[in-house]
């Protein structure tokens, strides 16, 4: 399957500073809706990467392609900051943006109405965009980005300044874009919870380099069978007992175990073994890395294999 975004040894220099230092990645899948989260601390180069994909910056080396084209032929951006034509009605604004994206005039008018209803601005579509509230402006920005149904939509902090209900509505719309309409979404956000909710892949940037790239769905699957177990009593034989049922366990400290359960073994088996070994379970929890932990590890704020107590302490 062809990637939507193909970046090869991309270097971007702004003035004397090199912002992107040789980034290479393949993101998304053409024809299949996927959401890719772009994460990183402030100054990591996220915005520069987005702007380079849109053709706003020329790479000093390497290449950035979208659907095989150099930069911004098939993508549409929803900028982070206010970016609107304030003295136009929402319908006229979207119609203009649609026509500039290549829609014939009649189709642009039809799509403008349709898209505004879709993002929840149907009743306010004849109001000037300048009079909109922050949440409505965010929706208008999303609408102008999707009016012509692009293959790739780039969203830069789309939930910024939204109240919880509007934020949820925005996330639902993004999910619909990828699941129902087959669009690829590149989502840049500092809100890890939002990214975790809607994204399938995550790319983490730090100091202009990719420090981590993972498939969130696969990561979730892989981590699902990690179990953290705390017991009281003599647990010297617990390792051998676990091996008997086909599970692997590592004692992290006296009474604390990290266990990898194969898919076919249920958690109930652990209760049976501990009962047999005369151990009392004081804590049993699935232990999977959250996106926050993945992110903190990637940017170096967290040790790769932390002790649970230490993890909690640092977070």
């Amino acid at each position: 399957m062809n990637p939507v975004i193909a970046v090869d040894n991309l270097r971007v220099r702004l003035g004397k500073r090199e912002i992107l230092k040789g980034i290479s990645c393949r993101l998304g899948a053409s024809g299949v809706g996927k959401a890719i989260g772009l994460l990183g601390p402030n100054g990591a180069g996220k915005s520069t990467l987005i702007q380079t994909l849109l053709g706003f910056h020329k790479p000093s080396a390497g290449s950035a392609q979208i659907l095989g084209f150099d930069c911004h032929r098939q993508s549409l951006d929803m900028p982070e900051n206010d970016s609107l034509i304030a003295d136009m009605t929402a319908v006229a604004f979207l119609r203009l943006m649609g026509e500039l994206s290549g829609l014939p005039a009649a189709a642009a008018l039809e799509k403008a109405h349709e898209t505004l209803f879709h993002v929840g601005l149907g009743e306010a579509r004849y109001r000037n965009v300048g009079t909109y509230s922050l949440g409505m402006k965010q929706m208008a920005k999303l609408a102008q980005a999707i009016i012509h149904g692009p293959e790739l939509v780039i969203l830069d902090e789309p939930t910024n300044g939204l109240d919880p209900a509007a934020r949820q509505r925005m996330l639902v719309l993004i999910k619909e874009m990828k699941e129902q309409h087959g669009m690829n979404v590149l989502l840049c956000s500092h809100l890890l919870h939002d990214v975790e909710q809607v994204c399938d892949e995550v790319v983490i940037l730090k100091d202009g380099q990719i420090v981590h790239q993972c498939d969130l769905a696969a990561e979730r699957q892989a981590n699902k069978r990690f179990v953290q177990l705390q017991v009281s009593g003599d647990d010297r034989n617990l390792g051998a007992a676990l091996r008997e049922i086909g599970a692997e366990g590592v004692s992290e400290s006296p009474g604390t175990w990290r266990i990898v359960l194969p898919v076919e073994i249920e958690v109930n088996a652990l209760w049976r073994i501990t009962a047999r070994e005369n151990l009392r379970i004081t804590k049993l929890a699935y232990r999977r890395d959250t996106l926050e932990e993945i992110f903190l590890k990637a940017v170096g704020h967290l040790q790769p294999s932390p002790q649970p107590e230490v993890v909690h302490g640092r977070i």
């Binding site: 706003f56 034509i85 203009l96 500039l100 349709e114 209803f117 102008q144 309409h181």
Partner: protein
């Protein structure tokens, strides 16, 4: 089906050509401009002089109707009523004043709001280059300024051509050509000045004042240079003079002997246009890079 009952679907129909998409911009801006009171007042006022000129053309072609100019009338008056390059030079000069005023009113609202609202990324995130953006904005001004320059100018010329004999048209066709070329050059110059002012000043009133100041200040500066250094080339710095010198050459009108010629003026105008374009392109960036 009503739009609100229908769900969102991705557009899969045919797309328009990428080279002509920028023409959508003027279509959206013209109605707004024509809805401005000052623009309408100026457009109406700008029609009086062409109407007077049209009347003059009519009279010059029907001189026999005037009792004092019956057969064998005064040659001096006949000569005064003749339609020649000087007539069109005066016509263009008056209409150009309205064009500057219109550009000062309409021009500042074209780029400044986009910069103030950070709208440039919306344009440039689409397959629209900076050149297309400038082209779209110039089209807006071209349409409005044509209404006070090219359209009435051609109306007067065609009226004269239709009232006069074929011999007049054969001998004077260059007047029409010169007027069109002269006005085109003028519209490009005024549009670029207005767009550049709009790109650098966010307040419309100040940007409009700057458009007018561009002409008046440079005219004053050129006079100061001429007086202080006792030279004539200072006039080249005056865009009003430079364009008039080019018009005179195009219309076959004799210019002042010791003043800079049409080619020098034309070269200076080209340099001015190139400088304005460079300044404009520098300002039109989708993102600001802070060093």
């Amino acid at each position: 089906m009503a739009v609100f009952k229908r769900g969102y679907e991705r557009y899969n129909g045919p797309l328009t050509g990428s080279a002509t998409r920028f023409l959508a911009v003027p279509r959206f801006v013209w109605p707004k401009l024509l809805g401005q009171r000052f623009v309408v007042i100026l457009l109406v006022l700008s029609l009086f002089w062409p109407l007077l000129c049209a009347g003059f053309v009519y009279v010059s072609n029907h001189a026999d109707l005037l009792p004092s100019l019956g057969s064998g009338g005064d040659d001096g008056i006949r000569k005064m009523l003749s339609i020649d390059g000087k007539f069109f030079a005066i016509f263009m000069n008056v209409q150009s004043t309205f064009a500057i005023l219109l550009a000062a009113i309409a021009g500042p609202g074209l780029i400044a709001p986009d910069l103030a609202n950070n709208a440039l990324p919306l344009y440039f995130a689409r397959p629209l280059s900076r050149w297309s953006y400038i082209g779209a904005r110039m089209m807006v001004l071209f349409g409005i300024l044509s209404l006070v320059t090219l359209v009435p100018g051609l109306f007067v010329f065609i009226m004269q051509a239709s009232l006069a004999s074929t011999a007049w048209l054969q001998a004077n066709w260059f007047l029409g050509q010169g007027m069109v070329l002269g006005f085109l050059l003028y519209i490009v110059m005024v549009s670029l000045i207005a767009l550049t002012c709009s790109a650098y000043v966010k307040w419309r009133v100040v940007a409009g004042a700057l458009v007018l100041a561009f002409f008046f200040v440079l005219a004053g500066a050129s006079q100061i240079i001429n007086q202080v250094l006792r030279v004539e080339w200072g006039s080249l710095l005056n865009p009003g003079y430079a364009i008039y010198a080019v018009w005179c050459a195009l219309l076959g009108v004799e210019a002042a002997e010791d003043a800079p010629g049409a080619w020098e003026s034309f070269t200076v105008l080209l340099l001015m246009l190139a400088a304005l374009l460079a300044v404009l392109l520098r300002k039109l960036r989708p993102v600001e890079v802070v060093s």
